[in-house]
């Protein structure tokens, strides 16, 4: 694969007039233009059902747009072969709303999965996985199977899996939805740490308080279009 950095400028993700419909339904997203600069930290917000998860799916190559252009790491994703797409996915960490942990694998194995898929030898990452699990407060649950974890614990395992391979792009869908505020703040700190070390972060959330606490970029989906900043019509939203 050619070096993606060589092709493009500063944006890691760029949408140009992107539209998406599920099957023959209406367009969930229309005419979306957006850019995520390299190293940026962006929140994506909007009412339930607005299309946040859908937009994220386009970013992590789970869906292909119905129309328009998506550029990832400087490459037009429509032109990528399946193998190239998979190689790109290995540079993206994803935390899904429903966690998607593998039930028969221990928490340790779940978190180590991206490294294993990338073909790294176990000895090279075992300590990192343990350290990360301790950091997200799952040090005592490493050998547990996901179905025996609480929702918040599963969420933390999913986040650990998303960040373990130090991805260039981190995408999280409601990552603090199932945890108490203390853990939530800790997880957000994990994301800001990753961001400081160069990872571009895109987080979908309803949680306006968290958005306010961090002085980050905000994108908002409304009526299938994407706007910058929080809704100015709503009181207290000054961004």
């Amino acid at each position: 694969m050619s070096s993606p950095e060589a092709i493009s400028g500063q944006e890691l993700v760029r949408f140009q007039r992107v539209g998406l419909r599920y099957g023959r339904g209406p367009e969930v997203l229309s005419d979306v233009n957006l850019e995520l600069p390299r190293g940026s930290f962006t929140f994506l917000t909007g009412p339930s059902g607005a299309g946040k998860s859908t937009l994220l799916k386009l970013c992590y190559l789970h869906l292909a747009p119905s129309r328009g252009l998506i550029n990832l790491f400087g490459q037009d994703v429509a032109l990528l072969s399946p193998a190239e797409q998979q190689a790109l996915k290995r540079r993206i960490g994803v935390v899904l709303q429903d966690f998607r942990l593998i039930d028969h694998l221990s928490v340790f194995e779940n978190v180590a999965l991206p490294l294993r898929v990338a073909g790294q030898p176990r000895a090279s990452y075992a300590d990192d996985v343990v350290e990360l699990l301790q950091w997200v407060g799952l040090g005592h649950r490493m050998q547990a199977l996901p179905p025996t974890l609480s929702g918040g614990e599963q969420q933390r395992a999913a986040i650990a899996r998303a960040v373990i391979a130090k991805p260039d792009l981190l995408i999280a869908d409601e990552p603090t939805g199932n945890v108490d505020p203390v853990i939530g703040r800790r997880l957000i700190r994990l994301f800001t740490e990753m961001n400081r070390m160069g990872t571009t972060v895109l987080i979908a959330t309803h949680d306006v308080t968290t958005i306010r606490e961090l002085d980050a970029r905000v994108l908002r989906i409304e009526n299938s279009h994407v706007f910058k900043g929080l809704d100015p019509d709503k009181p207290g939203n000054t961004l």
């Binding site: 992590y60 789970h62 292909a64 399946p82 193998a83 998979q86 190689a87 790109l88 996915k89 290995r90 540079r91 993206i92 994803v94 899904l96 998607r100 942990l101 593998i102 028969h104 694998l105 221990s106 340790f108 194995e109 999965l113 991206p114 294993r116 898929v117 990338a118 176990r122 075992a126 996985v129 343990v130 040090g139 005592h140 490493m142 050998q143 899996r161």
Partner: protein, 297 residues
């Protein structure tokens, strides 16, 4: 949570999925039958070789004499000619009683009247090498002796063609069973891909290539086939041993440790081929289906 535990790598596809036990039983049965087919083919082949070897180094010389008075003299000169022709062979004239008893199957178990003409018979046995019937009759005819030399080549040909059909039958069965193993593996992989859809979607999400995922299916199917076939083929070997000891299958069965060892080596080969076929069928099916799915997405 000890680091020792972390060293053991869990397989990415679960060992036990829905129907995996019945699948194992099916594979086991097929391997059992395939093992028996192989043992049967090899046994039949061995028996035929053995019989034909025995036949080819013996011949029966039948003296066509005109009257009982000259029979003795003819017998003597035939023996002399044979001895000079084949000095290293074992040449045995059959006594009248022995010749007579050979006729019994054809004329019933009654006492033969003394005056019924019984042909004089001489058996010629060479310790090694085949006997040339044409050469013997030519030499005897040159001496003016009227004989009929039977080197059993007709029998040998019959045995050979019968054995060929039997071995062909066994090999045909074996091929059908291996093809069935292939089909079962393809079927199981299709079912496995949809049963393990969630796991695969996670693997795809973290960037696993189709090849990587196919290899998981190769491993899963290969392990399953190796276990099923080991049990099935092992049972076939035990079954064959039982049949051989009880002499149910006569000369087709095992008669020496050497045969057992050789056949076991063949069975191990069958085991490896069986597992390979299942594993490769799974890998190819997985690859094809994953590629198709990716195109649809």
């Amino acid at each position: 949570m000890s680091s020792a535990n972390l060293q053991t790598i869990q397989p990415l596809l679960p060992e036990r999925i829905e129907n995996s036990r019945s699948l194992l039983v099916v594979l086991m049965l097929m391997a059992f039958l395939a093992g028996l087919a192989l043992l049967f083919s090899r046994g039949a082949n061995r028996m035929s070789d053995h019989w034909r070897a025995q036949l080819s180094n013996t011949a029966t010389v039948q003296i066509l004499h005109s009257s009982p008075d000259t029979q003795q003299a003819q017998m003597q000169s035939t023996l002399q000619t044979l001895q000079s022709l084949l000095p290293e062979a074992d040449i045995q004239p059959l006594s009248m009683d022995e010749s007579r008893s050979l006729l019994k199957p054809w004329i019933g178990n009654t006492d033969l009247p003394e005056d019924i003409p019984v042909p004089g018979l001489i058996t010629v046995t060479k310790s090694s090498g085949a006997i040339n019937a044409a050469r013997i009759s030519a030499a005897l005819e040159a001496e003016g002796l009227l004989v009929n030399v039977d080197d059993h080549s007709q029998y040998a040909r019959n045995i050979q063609s019968t054995t060929r059909s039997l071995v062909g039958l066994g090999m045909g069965l074996l091929s059908i069973l291996l093809a069935a193993g292939l089909a079962v593996s393809i079927f199981a992989t299709r079912a496995g891909l949809s049963a393990q859809r969630d796991i695969i979607s996670v693997l795809v999400q973290v960037g696993a290539s189709n090849l990587f995922i196919s290899k998981l299916f190769i491993g899963q199917a290969g392990r399953r086939a190796m276990i099923g076939a080991a049990i099935g083929i092992g049972l076939a070997a035990l079954f064959w041993l039982g049949l051989s000891v009880l002499k149910v299958i006569g000369d087709v069965g095992w008669q020496s440790p050497q045969m057992v060892i050789l056949d076991l080596i063949w069975l191990i080969g069958l085991w490896i081929i069986f597992a390979l076929i299942c594993a490769l069928a799974a890998g190819m099916t997985a690859r094809r289906l994953l590629a198709r799915e990716r195109r649809r997405a």
